[in-house]
Point group: C2
Chain length 205, copies 2
């Protein structure tokens, strides 16, 4: 696509580098911004710049934070003995929304994925192992997605932690609450039969 | 959605103001930027800022341009007597790609749309009428989309130009080249039968 303006062309090039946004969509977004008040674009530009340059990671759980220790890690009412390992901030938000977990988190900031060039050294695995070795953790709960990359990551970390006397668990897989059996995929349904639980356990929230 | 970081929250808010981008997508985009080199975000922010503050409109055709007269208007080989009226820069680019039009353009920078609060005074209609009244234009060709808003706009401008001795035409509507009849919608097919053209005319490219 050739543009009559270099400024437009540069803006479109940069917007189109975002995932899932092609050049046509980028042009539509740029033309939209042009019709809005100038302030909106300036606010967007400065918010992006401030976010990328000033944001820091919590020095304990590695979650995104404005302070050196995030509000969850700084909360004295949360259980230091339970550590929930997640991929990124979205998973922390999802689990916090359930209100069912009162321990602390450890954010990996990614998942082992050779195809994207992400290896164990790019994640916060060393910090996790050190934390567990320090001896205050009773249980490590893995709350990762059900993908092959997540399984690889879990396998790798589990090996690193094998020398530690810590309970390691993963979140339960099965038929989602409210789903109908006939629409559940075969793998999930098959596993949920193999990994069936006592009726009494299924009653507790 | 509540975030642990105000910087992240602001960035997501601003990104989510773009059309077609919700908060979840905005968060995904922000987290993507965080994994890319810092320079990419800074380049995006500065390209957006420069685009919005420095871009100007060609003083003749009102197309987006870096100079006060765009390259098409400044081209002495193009026919000053033919004026193609379009909605925005995307239509100029689409028509330029066909290589079939050698006149000049007039960009309305929008379309009359009461539902979006856009009236005739928000477009470059006055400038178009003045240009036609100056007397150098032989033909005004409307290349607008086939929507109700575009028809309203065409009707309005046509009325304004009725006092001028100028030929007014619109681009042909009909069955797209390469399309099969059975898949063409009824309105288009019906109109293309009513507005049938002599066989000889259909042969010329």
């Amino acid at each position: 696509m050739e543009f009559s303006s270099k400024l437009l062309s540069q803006a479109v090039e940069e917007i189109a580098q975002l995932p899932g946004i092609g050049k046509r969509t980028a042009l539509r977004l740029a033309l939209h911004l042009l019709k809005q008040p100038k302030n909106q674009t300036l606010a967007l530009a400065s918010a992006l710049e401030a976010f990328r340059t000033e944001i820091i990671f919590c020095d304990q759980c590695h979650n995104l934070s404005d302070l050196s220790t995030c509000s969850i890690c700084a909360n004295p009412h949360r259980d230091n003995g339970q550590l929930c390992v997640v991929e990124d901030i979205r998973d922390v938000m999802a689990i916090e929304n359930t209100g069912q977990f009162l321990g602390k988190y450890h954010v990996l900031n990614g998942i082992i994925s050779p195809i994207d060039g992400i290896g164990p050294q790019d994640l916060t695995i060393d910090s996790l192992v050190k934390k567990v070795q320090s001896g205050n953790i009773r249980e490590v709960i893995f709350a990762l997605s059900a993908t092959m990359e997540a399984d690889t990551t879990l396998f790798y970390i589990n090996k690193q932690l094998s020398a530690c006397a810590v309970k390691i668990s993963t979140i339960a897989r099965g038929v989602p609450v409210g789903d109908e059996l006939e629409y559940t995929d075969e793998v999930t349904l098959g596993r949920s039969i193999l990994k069936r639980i006592p009726y009494e356990d299924s009653l507790s929230q």
